[in-house]
């Protein structure tokens, strides 16, 4: 299918995006092969050794693609399909089933604001609004400087510390709209 189908708002990159110029230290250019270098091969073999079938290694390898590139690109899906004897279409099916696999490039900082019940009661919506305002983006869109992608997320499992915001791999707890500029400053 072409790209015209609208993605779920919870999918990062659902909106028009700008490619982040840099993606942090670990990131590789999006079209660099995943498994050509030592690190890639090592991860592949380690993952494969854990499962009885090659197909079972699909999710961990998609994780790896996202870890390296920030998203799961078409060349990455094809490469994984080749390694696991699956069709690219099958990999595409699995990768799109999970909203946590980014289907478009995202900003250097992926900001996920929880708006489920506990966080929402404690002002999650307002926190989200503030992040969007400060970064000048719409949900799922990447800011023009390539730094930020802000989106809503379902429960992050830290309801005791509402509102919870996850930035890349880190949690920010008890976030209020007032703390938003401060958090963004810290990131840069």
């Amino acid at each position: 299918m072409s790209d015209e189908v609208e993605l779920h708002p919870a999918v990062a990159g659902a909106q028009p995006y700008m490619r982040a110029e840099t993606q942090g230290e670990n990131s590789a250019p999006e079209d660099a092969p995943l498994f050509d270098d030592g690190a890639g091969r090592e991860r592949l073999e380690k993952v494969l050794s854990r499962y009885p079938t090659r197909r079972a290694a699909l999710l961990p390898l998609l994780n790896y693609a996202q870890e390296r590139n920030g998203w799961v690109s078409r060349p990455a899906m094809k490469e994984i399909a080749g390694e696991l004897d699956l069709t690219p279409a099958y990999v595409h099916s699995v990768a799109t089933f999970y909203t946590m696999y980014n289907q478009r490039p995202v900003g250097k900082y992926l900001i996920q604001v929880c708006t489920n019940i506990s966080c929402d009661l404690c002002g999650g919506e307002e926190v989200l609004e503030r992040f969007l305002e400060e970064t000048g983006t719409r949900p799922g869109e990447t800011s023009e400087d390539g730094l930020y992608t802000v989106m809503e997320v379902e429960c992050l499992g830290a309801c005791g510390f509402a509102t919870v915001v996850q930035v890349n791999d880190e949690y920010y707890e008890d976030v209020t709209p007032e703390r938003v500029p401060e958090i963004l400053d810290e990131l840069d």
């Binding site: 299918m1 072409s2 790209d3 015209e4 189908v5 609208e6 993605l7 779920h8 078409r74 899906m77 094809k78 699956l86 069709t87 690219p88 279409a89 099958y90 595409h92 099916s93 799109t96 089933f97």
Partner: protein, 532 residues
């Protein structure tokens, strides 16, 4: 469907009707036997998996608290099933209401209208008025293959198409992308399907989500006439239905035959006929008089040809492997009468690449791209790579071979050239007499497929002008010289043929029926058609 002979029978009742089915049947199959059609979407008898995911086939089983999906539920002895209880009907109604939540209700411009299972069941058991206040989700449409379009909004994610490709075509290139109400059917981005059997996904789609671009907006289902026929694309002899409108073939659909093609057909077959019937047709008999081909009515033409044949002895013949058994039979008889040596008759079969459907290997697009090469063999014609140049000064007889690929000078020096054909090629125009005959779609008759299965096709179209089936023309010609009487009916032609040819003696017009009968066993396939 399971082989009933090989397993034990159990009895159960469906809506009070008692049925006996093999113990490995499911309830939906038992219901079909009881004459009850349980609405179903994800279940298709030709696709192995039963995901029980659409939930429209829920039925009530006595002694079980929850409604059960009848497509997956194995039968048990003594089971009492209700497909029409209040609970079952309410469940069905609710499922259909859910399916219509984001459906665009665009039946007036949908190719499937009139043959859509969603339309049918919604009309039969659904909610008359929508209770939905929310805005509908709009997904749009996409190209899935070079000639197949996908209307995502009409899709009910029954996954029949995905499972056909995965399990029957064994080509895992069509998948469900995304999930929930955003789910749609997809190939890998920017890659189209490319499988010789992909057209079947349009047939299995219970709604109008997958449509053939070739037929897009061409005809409404209820405006088409449907005639049981045989695909003439290759020697496999797939059973098909010809959908016709205003005396034109609109499309071919596979017709179930468990011995030949199951529920499927190949894409070559779908296109071959619709595209392949071009060229100038013969419409009236033409007989050469003083150098010019003069149009005549049948009796004058047959008289003129009969007179010319009177003084003829020997010669050679060419037949088309698309001619039916009956026509070949009378043609052979005519050649015998004229003393044409048995080995002086030849036929040529166009060759193509072979493709097998992995999930049903009996369906193979054969290298022989003609319906009745086996028949031509049977009647003693010799297979050749290219037609031998007829002996100069000798007569030549041609049955239905268009000679389109013949060299320019072909048959230039024939002493007498008789052409019975449906199309006029440059070579055919050189004939001394052109007798216009019908194509298989314009007549009834039989073909013999690659494994010796004799199958009937019926008349779907009116022939142009006064063209007639070749067997009718030939029997008329023979009758002029006192050899039998003219045959006007395909069943009679078949009867004379099977009476005269010992190797065909086992065949019976009635038993050949719609499913065919093989020459060796004599046993007709009693395979019953399943639900769509």
């Amino acid at each position: 469907m399971p082989e009933e002979e090989n397993s034990d029978l159990v009895s159960l009742t469906i809506d009070g009707v008692e049925v006996q089915v093999s113990e490995d049947s499911t309830v939906i199959e038992a219901a079909e036997k009881a004459g009850v059609v349980v609405p179903h979407y994800c279940y298709h008898p030709g696709i192995p998996t039963r995901p029980a995911q659409c939930r429209v086939c829920l039925v009530e089983v006595e002694g079980q608290d929850k409604l059960q999906p009848s497509c997956k539920l194995p039968v048990q002895d003594g089971m009492e099933v209700h497909t029409d209880s209040d609970d079952a009907e309410l469940a069905r109604k609710s499922v259909i209401e859910f399916l219509l939540v984001n459906h665009p209700l665009d039946c007036p411009i949908c190719d499937a209208a009139g043959q859509c299972m969603l339309q049918d069941y919604a009309f039969e058991t659904g909610q008359l008025q929508s209770r939905l206040n929310e805005e509908k989700l709009v997904m749009g449409r996409d190209r899935i293959a070079d000639d197949i379009l996908y209307f995502a909004d009409r899709c009910i994610i029954c996954t029949r198409c995905v499972r056909f490709m995965r399990e029957v075509a064994q080509d895992d290139s069509l998948v469900v992308a995304q999930r929930g109400d955003r789910a749609y059917i997809d190939t890998f981005p920017d890659e189209d399907l490319d499988n010789p059997f992909q057209g079947n996904i349009v047939d299995v789609c219970p709604v109008g989500a997958l449509v053939h671009e070739d037929y897009l907006f061409k005809a409404r289902a209820w405006d088409m006439d449907k005639t049981p026929s045989i695909c003439p694309g290759c020697s496999n002899g797939c059973n098909v239905t010809l959908d016709t409108k205003e005396n034109q073939i609109v499309r071919l659909k596979p017709r179930y035959n468990g011995e030949v093609n199951s529920y499927w057909m190949c894409d070559y077959g779908r296109k071959h006929l619709v595209m392949g019937n071009r060229g100038v047709r013969t419409e009236v008999p033409l007989v050469r008089q003083g150098g010019e081909l003069e149009p005549m009515d049948w009796s004058d033409a047959l008289a003129a040809v009969g007179e010319r044949l009177g003084g003829i002895e020997g010669g050679s013949a060419v037949v088309s492997p698309d001619a039916c058994n009956e026509s070949l039979h009378y043609f052979r008889r005519l050649l015998d009468t004229l003393g044409v040596p048995a080995d002086a008759g030849s036929y040529r079969v166009e060759q193509g690449e072979e493709h097998t459907l992995p999930g049903f290997p009996k369906l193979t697009l054969r290298e022989d791209r003609a319906a009745n090469g086996t028949g031509a063999d049977l009647f003693g014609f010799r297979r050749v790579e290219s037609w031998p140049e007829p002996e100069p000064g000798a007569p030549l007889f041609v049955l239905q071979e268009t000679l389109r690929e013949a060299p320019e000078s072909y048959a230039e020096d024939a002493s007498f050239f008789l052409y019975l054909g449906s199309h006029l090629s440059p070579a055919a125009r050189r004939a001394d007499a052109v007798l216009p005959v019908t194509t298989f779609a314009e007549m009834a008759g039989t073909f013999t497929n690659h494994e010796g299965r004799v199958q009937r096709f019926q008349k779907a179209l009116q022939p142009p002008g006064i063209a007639r089936p070749a067997w009718m023309v030939l029997s008329g010609l023979l009758a002029r010289s006192g050899d039998g009487s003219p045959v006007l009916d395909a069943a009679d032609a078949f009867g004379e043929m099977t009476d005269e040819r010992p190797e065909m003696a086992v065949l019976n017009w009635g038993r050949v029926g719609l499913k065919g009968q093989t020459l060796d066993s004599g046993a007709g396939a009693e395979a019953g058609a399943g639900a769509r």
